[in-house]
Symmetry: C2
Subunit: 454 residues, 2 copies
């Protein structure tokens, strides 16, 4: 077996190289099921579900059985999701996040061929997996690696291209949370104040007596269940209210995100534990709009899209009242996703401009209390915490992440001077099922970059 | 009465100056009704219907009675239209028309103050109207004048700003028609061929035996009535199929634009007379997609948005199958609208690049047969014709126009080296009612620019 030079240190670390066809085939043939996750062969694999090969929305017009529409529920069905996540603005109303008139910033490129030869052992597995296998296992639509701010790796698949856009899902929350921290830093929002000081509309809801900080860190105690699949969960009502889940005929529930927020009650005591509930982020967006008079997309323009030299106007899904879906509605290009990760890696500075106050980045990177997080059941994230809508590892590299279902991620590794931006259309939503083939891959990549840095 | 120096030649030509407050008040107090048009005082005037002052979609969230939604029909109601036409992508799904990575072209500016002091006599009126009065009379959302390619006048009102976008309505058709002429010029589409040579799907429809040229010039004979207001007109079904008119519960009619096109029968003989029917343009878009494999928005990117250095990504409304609404679905910025007019004025060249073949521009400017047009009842357009989705005056200045309902227009005056781009949200749709306060104003403006050119 020929071992690429760049990989030999991996072997010394006990990681098994899986670059030979035989081992690659073995890894594919005997996938390791993750407890609580669907068996890896339950869904068509990445190649078999390729949206271009399947002809979704191709033709003039596409045949009816190759059309994907929000109204008929097909945007929520795999493998149609593989097209839909890269064409969200063609399915639902959106508002522009404008990059403005200035030229886009340009990344330097220093592409590396050794990354595709990496291998790692997935969490809970005994057989190794190659880097390319991990791309397929995660139904990766796009993955970009920055090392010291330069592009060392950039791949697109599925229905995504470099000039296309992808739904960021809950990675959107990390943008919203960072904005919130910036307004706190500027003294325009008091982290210790009760939500109903700013939003009297929520006085009688479960949010009323929570502090801004508790909402920001998702330690609110709410009568709300973030269950993506149970048809009568509060999440489903939330989705219908917000407009990202189809309403049945005669639907008479809440009509907008803010109407839905008012219906959420309290259950327990705020501040006791982390519990991931998307509507917290909608409360943040409401707070931001109340204190600035501007919607989140406009704040993103002023705070990030202009200053970071983003290369594309982004698209932000809104509800029927024009309220941006701040918990999951941002659509953007992969390079722009990476730019946001890079400015966070660099302590809020990019190209000599302090775009995010250093204190904000420091607060986020410091993380929350791991004790608040420990009981939440994230078995793939031992010792992690959640802070200001970011996931913080507290590991020896200082890794922190923005995470969204179906594979959306920003992975910042300060020690390795690395940022990974990923879009995906995994049929499985939960990151618990995606982490095993993701986190060790990114860690091995980081170690490879550190080892070969000069 | 003090007469601005720049205006005195107007008086010499017999045009009455109306810049004094007294005359302005008189013109407002005694508006001239146009036959077949609503009385000018039927609707709230421009100032009273100002969408910003009325607070449409303002607040966090907007109060329910200040919300504008497609689903409840409010996007089709005046004065809500004054906000909706400037925020169309926030109401319905759209696809991006990307400007690409290159820097936008920049207009030189040579702003003139004499334009606001102009006056003219509306068609059919005896009292004069000032230029500013004409802006208000037309519920102008934006108006930009290029003279010799430089911006001499640029105004925004209503809910539109320089970096905003506006629905172009049927001005969209002139983009589609120009693309079609370009493909004909390149030999990829045969103007003399029958439509069903390219689109067998339309063999049994009224379009099947029409030629591409007849569709392009709207001399097809169709069993279809372009009546915007009668609830059972074919236009209403068209709108429901395309998705720009709300479907009633249980709607079971055609589901997409292309499905609707198949239902249109023939009535009479093709080629005998001009009859303005929007679905012709949808057939053009279908033809373009069939011969290029690309949707119209992508063709606009390649042919216009990149080469003309457009400054904004545009947004193009699509139907449920992703088919672009090529008869009226383009949303763009006012300066980009003017750029399209300017390249047509300059024989298809801009900044040294031949963006549109000179032969294409020549064919369009030559116009159609006025005899085909004469019977169509356009009393404000005597001697005009329709060619390749453009309106051609055959006047001494060689004026030609792109025209959309509610006030959308590109007015190209080659003799005056002038282009006017206008967006509006007039409560009255029909240009017949808008021309009286538009065409004489643009003509006076052209004469002023010619007179004072150096």
């Amino acid at each position: 077996m020929k071992i690429p030079v760049a990989l030999s240190p991996l072997l010394a670390l006990g990681l098994v190289l899986a670059a030979s066809p035989a081992i690659a085939a073995a890894a594919r043939a005997t996938p390791t099921p993750t407890p609580g996750c669907p068996a890896p062969d339950r869904f068509a694999d990445a190649a078999s579900s390729d949206p271009v090969a399947l002809g979704w929305m191709q033709g003039s017009p596409p045949p009816r059985d190759r059309q994907i529409r929000f109204a008929d529920g097909s945007t929520a069905r795999f493998p149609q999701t593989r097209w839909a996540f890269s064409h969200w603005r063609e399915l639902l109303p959106t508002v522009r996040v404008a990059r403005g008139d200035d030229p886009a910033s340009r990344f330097e490129r220093a592409e590396r061929t050794d990354i595709d030869a990496l291998a790692f052992v997935p969490i809970g597995a005994s057989a190794p997996m190659t880097w390319p296998q991990s791309l397929a296992a995660n139904y990766t639509d796009g993955l970009l690696v920055l090392h010291r701010g330069r592009i060392v790796y950039e791949r697109y698949a599925g229905a995504l291209t470099a000039d296309g856009q992808h739904l960021a899902m809950s990675v959107t929350k990390s943008f919203t949370g960072t904005l919130t921290e910036m307004l706190i830093e500027e003294g325009r929002l008091d982290a210790a104040a009760r939500v109903d000081r700013y939003l009297p509309e929520l006085t009688d809801s479960g949010f009323g007596d929570a502090t801004v900080r508790q909402v920001l860190d998702m330690t609110t105690a709410l009568d709300y269940d973030e269950n993506y699949t149970s048809p009568d969960s509060a999440f489903i009502t939330y989705g219908k209210a917000a407009g990202f889940i189809v309403r049945e005929a005669g639907y008479s529930g809440p009509d907008t995100v803010t109407d839905f927020l008012r219906t959420i009650g309290k259950s327990g005591e705020h501040g006791a534990a982390f519990s991931y509930r998307s509507p917290n982020t909608d409360v943040l967006a409401w707070l931001l709009q109340r204190v600035t008079g501007k919607r989140v997309p406009q704040l993103l323009e002023e705070r990030f899209w202009g200053p970071l030299g983003m290369e594309q106007d982004a698209s932000y899904q809104i509800d029927a009242a024009g309220t941006p879906l701040a918990a999951g509605g941002l659509n953007l290009g992969l390079r722009d996703l990476a730019r946001f990760g890079e400015v966070m890696r660099q302590g809020g500075r990019l190209d000599g401009h302090q775009v995010v106050p250093e204190a904000v980045v420091a607060r986020i990177r410091a993380g929350g209390r791991p004790g608040d997080f420990a009981g939440a059941g994230y078995t793939t994230l031992p010792g992690w915490s959640y802070r200001s809508q970011w996931w913080v590892s507290h590991d020896d590299h200082g890794v922190f992440m923005a995470r969204g279902v179906n594979g959306q991620a920003i992975y910042v590794d300060p020690a390795a001077e690395m940022v990974v931006a990923r879009f995906g259309s995994n049929p499985v939503a939960s990151n618990k099922c995606l982490d095993p083939t993701t986190l060790p891959a990114f860690r091995v990549l980081a170690e490879q970059l550190m080892r070969t840095a000069h």
